[in-house]
């Protein structure tokens, strides 16, 4: 304690010289600490992005889905295109039931495969989805009706009110089925929300309860409410057994459309989202007559870092399917968000190393100057009976005081300039787009849009999710340099490291010093 007291006294008494060292250290330490703060912020944000925490905070790049690959779909399309209409009709007439079923499921994935993949230890959540077109008795799809009328007016009278090749008519509705309505992507993204009644549950899926959730405007137009029933036609069947009665258990509204109407003064009652039905997967499978098949298996896994392992696992699971299926992830979304942060982190690491190097150099040079100017004092201390350790402790404490003052000031300054430095380091607005944006800009519009495009991942929702994705991009573009406890701990480590480094010179000097030589000097 006495040595510490002497060190502190020496620090106070040599204030002018120590102040210069403190100022120089303060500048470099402020830069170091700011760089460290930027690095920690980037690390933390990247970790938060790449890690699945909870269903409400799933991260980015932690999503993958098994679906039919776009390459395979394109091959099928090319093959079909080469056939004439007569050929196709002839083929259709000669199909056996098995062949017809195979045709029906050729763009779908066997549930067995998606179930098997869900056994992987890295998988956090698992859902199965089937999106398809179902014909409803006595209900009119106003969207398609308008579309067909438009085409008719343009002279395509030969197709009448039918959707031609797509096999649609004005009674066709878009059905989205999954294992639990609450986890349907349009609802998790916030693009749609329940207004009345309730969502179907996992039990509804397990028991194949014939329930459905419909859109608010659609319900109003058709005088439907919770408790009403509607009739769906099972694909490929006819007669009395071809109908399935579905009970309306909930009504939702499309938030994005609502907003669009408000901003444009409520000009249009056109609501394409109004023709979408949500039902348990097992019910949609029945209506589509494709039991055991889904459009996709949807998974959230622990971290972006699991992507590689899962891809290998999928390759193993899908061996022998001639690349028909793919495991698509939102890794590109992760990259678009994380890359600027990782670049900022790398830049800050270089800055940190440089600034710490400068700090080390300053303390080293300062100590050389200080010690060489106080050699006589060292000699006197030894001559009057100081042990080496007493002298070393005194100087160590003096250096510690210098570093402590500098680091306290630097921490304060870091709190002020850390964010600005972070903004400066963060690469300017990234021009790359996320997979969802690519899909929205290039994917086909209309009712079959999503399932004709493999670019758009299920988790990103349907056609009305621009706000959601925009929010994510906005969130990622900003580096939030917050003052955290770990920064303080790192500050202490830097303080100790610098002090020890600064002590290297006095230590050698003190041990090697011969007082007789020093005291003889005039």
């Amino acid at each position: 304690m006495r040595a510490f007291h002497r060190g502190f006294r020496s620090f106070r008494r040599n204030y002018a010289r120590n102040l210069i060292v403190v100022v120089l250290l303060f500048v470099c330490l402020t830069f170091s600490m700011s760089m460290l703060a930027v690095k920690l912020a980037a690390d933390s944000q990247v970790d938060a992005i790449k890690t699945y925490t909870s269903p409400s905070s799933p991260g980015v790049g932690t999503y993958g889905e098994i679906n039919v690959s776009s390459t395979y779909q394109m091959q099928q399309f090319q093959q079909e295109r080469q056939k004439s209409a007569a050929q196709r009709q002839a083929e259709a007439r000669s199909l056996t039931d098995t062949q017809e079923f195979a045709n029906r499921v050729q763009d779908l994935v066997p549930e067995k495969m998606t179930d098997q993949f869900s056994q992987n230890g890295d998988i956090e959540t698992y859902d199965k989805v089937l999106e398809t077109n179902i014909t409803m008795n006595d209900l009119t799809n106003t969207n398609l009706q308008q579309l067909f009328q438009l085409r008719q007016n343009r002279g395509n009278s030969q197709e009448g009110n039918s959707g031609g090749a797509l096999g649609m008519n004005q009674n066709t509705f878009y059905f989205a089925g999954n294992t639990n309505g609450a986890s349907a992507s349009d609802f998790t993204t916030g693009a749609k929300k329940m207004v009345t009644g309730q969502m179907f549950t996992y039990q509804d899926y397990v028991n194949a309860n014939p329930v459905v959730v419909i859109e608010k405007n659609f319900a109003d137009q058709n005088n439907l409410q919770v408790g009403s029933t509607v009739e769906g036609v099972i694909s490929g069947q006819s007669g009395s057994g071809s109908l399935m009665e579905l009970k309306v258990i909930g009504i939702y509204e499309t938030v994005q459309t609502q907003q669009s109407q408000n901003s444009s003064g409520g000009l249009s009652s056109f609501n394409p989202a109004g023709n979408e039905f949500y039902a348990p997967l097992s019910v949609v499978q029945k209506l589509n007559a494709t039991p055991g098949y889904v459009q996709l298996g949807s998974y959230y896994f622990g971290s972006v870092d699991d992507t590689g392992t899962l891809k290998v696992a999928f390759k193993k699971d899908s061996a022998g399917t001639a690349n028909k299926y793919q495991f698509a992830t939102d890794y590109s979304d992760y990259q678009a968000i994380a890359d600027p942060l990782l670049k900022a982190k790398n830049t800050s690491l270089i800055g940190l190393a440089g600034a710490l190097g400068a700090c080390a150099l300053i303390i080293l040079l300062a100590m050389i100057i200080i010690i060489s100017g106080r050699t006589r004092e060292l000699g006197v201390l030894k001559a009057i009976g100081s042990t080496d350790s007493q002298v070393i402790a005194q100087y160590a404490f003096e250096i510690l005081c210098i570093c402590l003052v500098a680091i306290i000031l630097a921490m304060g300054a870091t709190a002020l300039i850390g964010q600005s430095l972070g903004n400066w380091i963060l690469p300017k607005a990234n021009t790359s787009t996320t997979s969802s944006q690519q899909a929205q800009s290039s994917g086909p519009a209309g009712i079959a849009g999503r399932f004709m495009s493999n670019n758009n991942l299920y988790k990103e929702g349907g056609r009305f999710t621009a706000a959601f994705n925009g929010q994510q991009q906005q969130k990622a573009a900003k580096l939030n340099v917050v003052y955290r406890g770990s920064l303080f701990l790192y500050g202490i480590l830097i303080l100790i490291g610098l002090s020890l480094f600064g002590m290297a010179i006095p230590l050698i000097w003190i041990i090697r010093l011969r007082p007789a030589r020093v005291l003889s000097m005039e």
């Binding site: 001559a383 009976g385 007789a516």
Partner: protein, 229 residues
């Protein structure tokens, strides 16, 4: 060694290596010094007298010989030299060698602090000593650069006495002072020997100091010869 001989130097030699070869700073020197006496070694610059003082103070190590100070064989491996310097000898230098950032009081308290004396006791003893030396009052809180040479040397003597050593080793104590002040310092050192019973060993090239010495030696090129009384 006589009963009262506090300092006994026997056959001590010290050689320094220089570029041109080796220089024998102390050549087989033997002498004794007693308690209550002022022993002076005079000689020209470079004769080896300061080296002899530093050898006795354990700041230099001789190649050969024996040195017994207050019962300690300072050339023995078992002797704690730091403790010896702290408790058995007190140095007074030509250039005072006070710590410039410390006040007069703190400079005197420093050896006591190193010896582990309590803060209150340090202050009491240092104040008392400085007041005896005539540097009390406002000078207690003065730094060396605010005091005259004489005042600085009196503070240095007080520091040498801080831990009540048996031997005071004074290296040219008047070398940096004017005649009157130098005389005053010599009187203080003389009083320390004759009144406080210390063994004062002074080295100087000022032969006028010999009149206050009880024993005197002349040193030339490392060779020590006693000057008859």
């Amino acid at each position: 060694m006589a009963e009262q001989d506090i300092l006994n130097v026997k056959d001590v030699s010290k050689t320094f290596q220089v570029k041109s070869g080796s220089v024998k700073a102390i050549d087989d020197v033997s002498f004794t010094a007693d308690k209550g006496q002022v022993t002076t070694i005079v000689g020209p610059s470079g004769s080896g007298k300061t080296t002899l003082l530093y050898v006795i103070g354990s700041l230099e190590k001789p190649e050969t010989g024996e040195i017994m100070v207050a019962g300690h064989d300072i050339l023995s491996q078992s002797t704690d030299l730091v403790k010896y310097r702290r408790e058995n000898v007190g140095f007074v230098f030509q250039f005072f060698n006070l710590i410039p950032t410390l006040t007069a009081l703190e400079n005197v308290m420093l050896p006591m602090d190193l010896a582990g004396v309590g803060a209150h006791e340090q202050k009491r003893r240092a104040t008392e000593m400085l007041e005896k030396m005539g540097v009390g009052g406002r000078l207690l809180k003065a730094r060396p650069n605010k005091m005259s040479g004489g005042e600085n040397q009196r503070v240095a003597i007080s520091r040498a006495l801080a831990n009540d050593p048996d031997v005071i080793l004074a290296d040219e104590p008047t070398g940096n002072l004017d005649t009157a002040t130098g005389r005053n310092v010599i009187e203080i050192l003389s009083a320390l020997a004759h009144e406080a019973g210390k063994c004062v060993l002074m080295v100087t090239h000022d032969e006028s100091i010999l009149d206050v010495s009880d024993r005197a030696f002349h040193m030339t090129d490392g060779d020590l010869k006693e000057i008859p009384a």
